[in-house]
Each structure stands twice: as structure tokens, then as C-alpha cells.
Amino acid sequence: MASVFSFQAVSDGIVMNFRDGSTFGSIKQAVSLHTAEASDFFTGVNLYLNLSGLELAYEQLEELMELVKGYNQVNKIYFTARKIKKEEKSEENYSDAVIINRTLRSGQRVKHQANVVIVGDVNPGAEVIAGGDIIVFGRLRGVVHAGAGGSKDSQVAALKLNPTQLRISSLIARSPDDSDSSKLQAERAYIENDQIMVEKI
């Protein structure tokens, strides 16, 4: 039922939004069920019926008016046609990080919505997926995906950056075929001009 309408609180009451493309039949059914189950839902507040996106015949509107009378002690009932405000994406929070204190071996996989710090190696066949940055205090030889949620500001850093594949946001890079010096050299990969760049640190 909840899929047919949703509620949105405003300063002096509650807006009842109907989902785009709902048929009058389903609206009728959902509202009559809601009035039966939660008749006190709008007690003391204004109810705004948001008809945006709906086309109702005169009789259907009458029917709907009849139905919403089922709510007890509603302050005032309005019909409106306002744009449904999309909930703004909350600012992604990168402050928390998970710390993995061991070597990730082939077949092991770490997935976290924020930053991932690995103290140990990431071996070939292992996978790290992070919404934020990935930092490896060791050799990175597996597959990593930083900014998996789409963040292009994410970066990958390792004491030895030699991944099977390195993804940041929606970009993919792989290590050059001849990059196999076993010397440790800390490097960092990031996105610049829609390209994955690698620099020594």
C-alpha cells in the first residue's frame, strides 16, 4: 500500500503524495484501507492531498473526498498540486574507515561504504571495494575499486602499487605489463581530467 502514496511533513500538516502512474482504483483501495487502519493519522493537522501527476474525473474526486472523510478530526483538508521534493542525497560521510590488520589472500573480499585501510598485502585474486579511499600498507596486487559509489575524489594508495586492476569511480586501469620491480615505492592513484593518474608519494 505504501507504494501508492507517501507522506511528507510540512510546517502545518502532512502532504499525501500519490505515486506517479497510480490508477484511481489502487488509490481508492489504498486510501480506504489507510482510513480504516489509521483513522487518527491526521488528527489535529492539515491534510494536503497532492494530486500532482493525477488526472481525476469529477466523480472520482468526489469519491476521494468521501473517502478522506474517514480520517478523524482532521484540521483542514486541501487539494494541491505541488512538485514532490526528491529527498536530497545526504552528503556521503567518508570520515569512518575500516582497518584490516592482515593480508588479504586470493578469494578474500572486503567491501565497505567508506574508506578501507589495509595493514598487510592485497594478493592477486583478492578484492577490495570501497565507497571512499583505499590505502594499503603493503603490496597491492589484487583488484581494488575506490569510490565505488561514484565518487571521483577517491584515491588508492599503496606501498607497492601493482594491482591486477585498479578502478576509481567508473574508470578502470591496470598495471603496465612490465611493472614488476619488487622494490617498494609508495604510489597513489587518483582521477584527473577523467583519467586515472598515478604518482609517487
Partner: protein, 264 residues
């Protein structure tokens, strides 16, 4: 006195798990230990063939867990060493015929009698592998100097850790000094760098293995074979001795000639 259970595993097939199990078991028995080898590769049993005991099988591991026979009835005594036994796998059944729980019970019972129980694991990471590692106190991973084998070994180490089997050791099998020197084969250091576990032995590539496997005589019995020496050393390291690794010998004309003379 309760003994130790050692599982020999690898992930990848064909790297020498069965050969290593047979030789480690034999070499441990040569040192005077009471040893039972268990073939956990149900449906594809091989250990009995490598040990040369195939024609003595009456009961097998599935008969034991299904209570068709007593444990002692299924254990085959080795023809060379009194303290060496083999518990063969069933050939006409599959891996699901035994559960890890049953396996653990079986191994725990055997441990009471033995100094070492050596379990030969099947390839793969499915039920057969899970059965093999159930009840193990110690794991030895066999790998060869190939990327695929090392990758699988790495995966196995992770799975063993997840099952609480910490600090496994690795045997590097079939290494060829000449190829390593030319840079055509992964070196020992490269492999240990990836796997980051302790090395318990290096077994050089040896044609004698094929011969000994076909004859059903583990190469550890052969005094002259390098591979046999390597397995005897591994057995002593398992018993806690601190032996240095055998230096790798280049397989050049002279050594090949020496071997030929030595073997013939």
C-alpha cells in the same frame, strides 16, 4: 600419547599432494614414528596406488564411518614399515559420503594411537577439502612454481585461516634450478613473498618420482634420489628438527649423468 594430524593440501590438482603425503608418511615412519595415512580423496583414490597397497584394500573410510567395519579392519599395514598404516578412500562413492564431523571423530580416534596422522586432501575447495581439514592440527600446502598453483595456494591459506588452522607451512615442489636461474621459473623467494608463510621444504623436479609412483615405492625409500632426500628432510622438520634447506642443484649434464649412474 595423542599425536598430531597433518593435512596435505593445495587447492590446485596435480601439484603433488598425494606424492607428498605418501613420502612424508613413509619418511616419518622411517624415523620410527607410528603413522597413519588417510586418503580423503573419496571417489578418486590414489594414495593406495602410490604406496603400492592397492591390492590389500578390503574396507575403506566410508565403511568405517558407516560402521560396516571397525577402524582397525580398514587400516592397511604397510609392507615395509610396521608403524605405517593406510586408511584408503572409497572409490565407488563420492565426497558427500563423509561429513566433516565424522571425519573429525575418525581422526581424533586415530590420533590416540598414532604419532602422526597424515591426511591427503583432494584438489578443490569443496566438501572433500572441508572433510580433509576437519580435525587437522597442522596444514602443509604443496605448490609448484607456477602462478596458478601459487594463486590457489594463497586461496587455500585464506580458507585454512578462516577454519582456524593458522600458520600453515608450504612445500615447493618440482622446482628446477636451471629454469629458475634462467628466469623462466618463479624463484623460491618470489613465491614466499606472495604466500608469506613458512617454507618447510623444497622438492626438486625428479624423474624418479614418476618411476617410484608407478612402482608403488615412495621415493623417500630411495637413498640416492634428491627428491627422496628432500622428503626425508621435510619429515625431520615436521618432527621439530631445524634443518637447513638443501641447496638447489642445477640439472646439468654432469649431475644428470651422475643420477643415471646412481639409479642404474
Amino acid at each position: 600419547m595423542a599425536g598430531k594430524t597433518i593435512v596435505i593440501t593445495s587447492g590446485k590438482g596435480g601439484v603433488g599432494k598425494t606424492t607428498s603425503s605418501a613420502n612424508i608418511g613413509t619418511a616419518l615412519a622411517m624415523q620410527g614414528n607410528k603413522v597413519c595415512l588417510i586418503d580423503a580423496d573419496i571417489g578418486l583414490r590414489n594414495l593406495d596406488v602410490v604406496m603400492g597397497l592397492e591390492n590389500r584394500i578390503v574396507y575403506d573410510i566410508v565403511d568405517v564411518v558407516e560402521n560396516n567395519c571397525r577402524l582397525e579392519q580398514a587400516m592397511i599395514r604397510d609392507k615395509r614399515y610396521d608403524g605405517l598404516y593406510l586408511l584408503p578412500a572409497a572409490q565407488t562413492r563420492d565426497k558427500t559420503s563423509v561429513t566433516p564431523f565424522q571425519m573429525k571423530e575418525l581422526v581424533d580416534e586415530l590420533k590416540e594411537e598414532m604419532d602422526y596422522v597424515v591426511v591427503d586432501s583432494p584438489a578443490g575447495i569443496e566438501q572433500g577439502f572441508k572433510n580433509a581439514i576437519a580435525g587437522a592440527d597442522r596444514a602443509i600446502i604443496v605448490t609448484t612454481p607456477e602462478i596458478s598453483a601459487v594463486r590457489d595456494a594463497d586461496r587455500i591459506i585464506g580458507l585454512l585461516e578462516a577454519e582456524g588452522l593458522r600458520d600453515p607451512e608450504v612445500i615447493i615442489n618440482r622446482i628446477r634450478a636451471d629454469m629458475v636461474e634462467r628466469g623462466d621459473m618463479m624463484g623460491i623467494d618470489d613465491m614466499i613473498e606472495i604466500l608469506a608463510i613458512d617454507l618447510i621444504g623444497i622438492v626438486p623436479e625428479d624423474e624418479g618420482i614418476v618411476v617410484s609412483t608407478n612402482k608403488g615405492e615412495p621415493i623417500a625409500l630411495n637413498d640416492k634420489a634428491k627428491a627422496g632426500q628432500a622428503y626425508r628432510n621435510i619429515a625431520r622438520r615436521i618432527m621439530g628438527e631445524d634443518l637447513p634447506m638443501m641447496p638447489l642443484e642445477k640439472d646439468n649434464f654432469i649431475t644428470r649423468f651422475k643420477k643415471l649412474v646412481g639409479l642404474s
